[in-house]
Amino acid sequence: MNFTSLTFWLFFALVFSMYWLVREGRWQNTLLILASYVFYTWLSPWYAVLLGVSTLADFYLARQMKQKNNSAKTYLALSSILSLGVLAIFKYYNFFNTQVAEALTSVGLSADWLFIKVFLPAGLSFYTLKKLAYMIDVSRGTLEPSDDLLSFALFVSFFPQIVAGPMDRYQKLMPQIQGKHIWQSGFFYSAWPLIVMGLFKKIVVADSIKPIVDRVFGLDHPSMVLIIAGTLGFTLEILADFSAYTDLSRGVAQLLGFNTSENFNKPYLSLTPTDFWNRWHITLSAWLRDYIFFPIRRALLRRKEPLPNWLLLSIPPLVTMFISGIWHGAGLTYMIWGLYYGVLIAGYQLIGLRGDWKPAGRLKTFFAWLIMFALIAFGWLIFRAPSMTWLADVFLHSEWTHGREDWIVTSILLSRTILYSLPLVIKYVLDQYVPGGFIRPFYYAVLTLGIIIFIGSGTSDFIYFQF
């Protein structure tokens, strides 16, 4: 049941009607918890049990932290081991089991049992970080632990956010959960552009560009021109796909009376890597900044023997972005991608270009943007590459082009990327320069027509058609 399926919208229509009919806050929250667990059970029944157990464990541990203040660190450690342990097992088991099995076999031990396939429960990475932030804040004494299990469980499992965020903090979501919910027509007026935009970006943009991008990254020896075109295509695809999910999540939450966080703020207009991470997956960036970057930086500054400035500027972003990389997935490409951003952030800061840097003059701004956009696209190339060996092979052995056919396919891919990015460019222009009038409603009306045409008419069979 994903946000673009009819099943989801039927489910949501039912939840929405009952939610606003019930009116009483406690019952509304109970209904939302039930709906959230039904939604999650639909994705993976057994993992709903895991969600429930881990919610109960953290609720109890946070309360213990408050009652036994001296042992706060022990409870935090216990909660972190539980949450991160579960995340590590589900996320990295499949990555490491082959290596462990080989090591065991080499010393004569049977390792067949290691080859059980473990599937990552949807949303585990997201709700783990959400709970972890809560536990850290309680242990720091900046947050009172919740004494309301129902509200806490809803905070963790809130169905518009559970699968892929945005990862709203306890401080933002809890007052809304515990506050009064009274229907306002404003909820609908704010939600519908988000829902139309989200459906359009996913169904029309991301799903149209994906098949040909997948084909390029599926080639064993692609030429450089194809890789460049494929990378630009993926740069559009990942923005459209992920921001579509956030838009839909925010639109659905808004219809239930919740104001949730923006996750994207024109990330491809960034001028520096720090600026990019302040605009891309904003709730994750804020989490990494508050719970990894700042603590490391503080710890380094508090050292008795001060570190040289270049190390002070380099270590926090390198560690933070490396962790960001492994959070995104198990695999060398994600680790390298994370480190790549760590190096970029450190490098920019070392030459004095901080996140809020603004070059003087349009030409300088343009070149700063162009360089940053190229660096972002290169980052996506690392992220999307099937493996690091493949990427190394492309750089070491690929020719610029294998002939005229490559240019033709490159131009097909580029024209597709440019055409499908136009609606997003128009949206930017409308947001910047057209505050009211008929143009904006006309834009949304045309997007809705686009959704009707593209829904269920896709050719996602593209790669596979050759069989």
Binding site: Y189, S411, I412, R416, G436, I452, G456, F462, Y464
Partner: protein
Amino acid sequence: MRSILRCLLLFSVLIAATWVKISHSYDLEFPRAPGPAFDNQVRKLYISKLENDEPDMVMLGDSTLLDGVDPDRLSELTGIKVSSFDAPGSASAFWYLVLKNNIVEAEHKPKYVLILFRDTILTAPGYRVHGSYFVQLDEFARRNEPVLLEQAYLNLMNPLEKFAEGTFPLYAARVQIRRETDAMIRYSLTSWLGCNKECNDNSMYEVFTSADLEPGQLQSAIAAAEGYLYTDRQLDFERQIDNSFLPEMIHLTQENNIQLVLVRLKTLITGEQDPQAIERYVGDLSEYLAEQNVVFLDFGTDPRLINEYYADALHLTREGEALFTEMLAESLKVALKKEAGK
């Protein structure tokens, strides 16, 4: 408030405009019966093959047949003249159409029709019927194909989709509009570079289809596409059989005195699925086929087809093909002899 009202107003105007334009451009009348519209042209490719080669046995299947059985060697080993009608990317809807509109309509009808399939594909009527596969089906479909329409499309639509298909021109014509939009994007820019449609398609073929795919990507693409065949619904034989093309294919062959032979091929995907559910499915299929007097040869778990004989999760290597052709010939001789003795 004003913004949403304006949007609704403009949306209604656009819908009205598309209603007129689409009904006129695609010659569609509304309300209409839901489901895709096929043209009346039927390719006679296999009729000519049957009449030119006059084979006694015809094999139907997708690329697994192309890479899995050598028809000349099979003819040699069995003493039966065999023709292979392998169509990469095809599935049960396509095989049904070829059987109905080509094989049984030919002057020369084969004695045997052999369908090489894997796991649940024979009772998954909605597999490979949309997008590019629709074009492949349309080539062999007549304008009026009630069984195809019902099993591959209408049975799988929810009431809302049926309503939209039958009432709204924009929704009903979305596949054609999408295809035309894709074609426009694909061919416009390259036409300025002096590359016409044919040159364009050849380039796509050269770059993608004839090139080597990165093995990991290929495996995951296959697994993702094959996943449809292993959902709970597809593995429920009792539920699927009456909604599939299989009863109709059996009926067509029996009516035309053709012996139907179904051959289940082993794939490396099967092993990654729920073994008990597949075993149950194959057991039910086997029982059903025995009742219908259809020969069923099951190589789905044959230990002789080891992993080394596979080029990827589905397709056999040259060595695999040679071995499987011999295995098939051996089993065919026994089964057909037994059938003749009945």
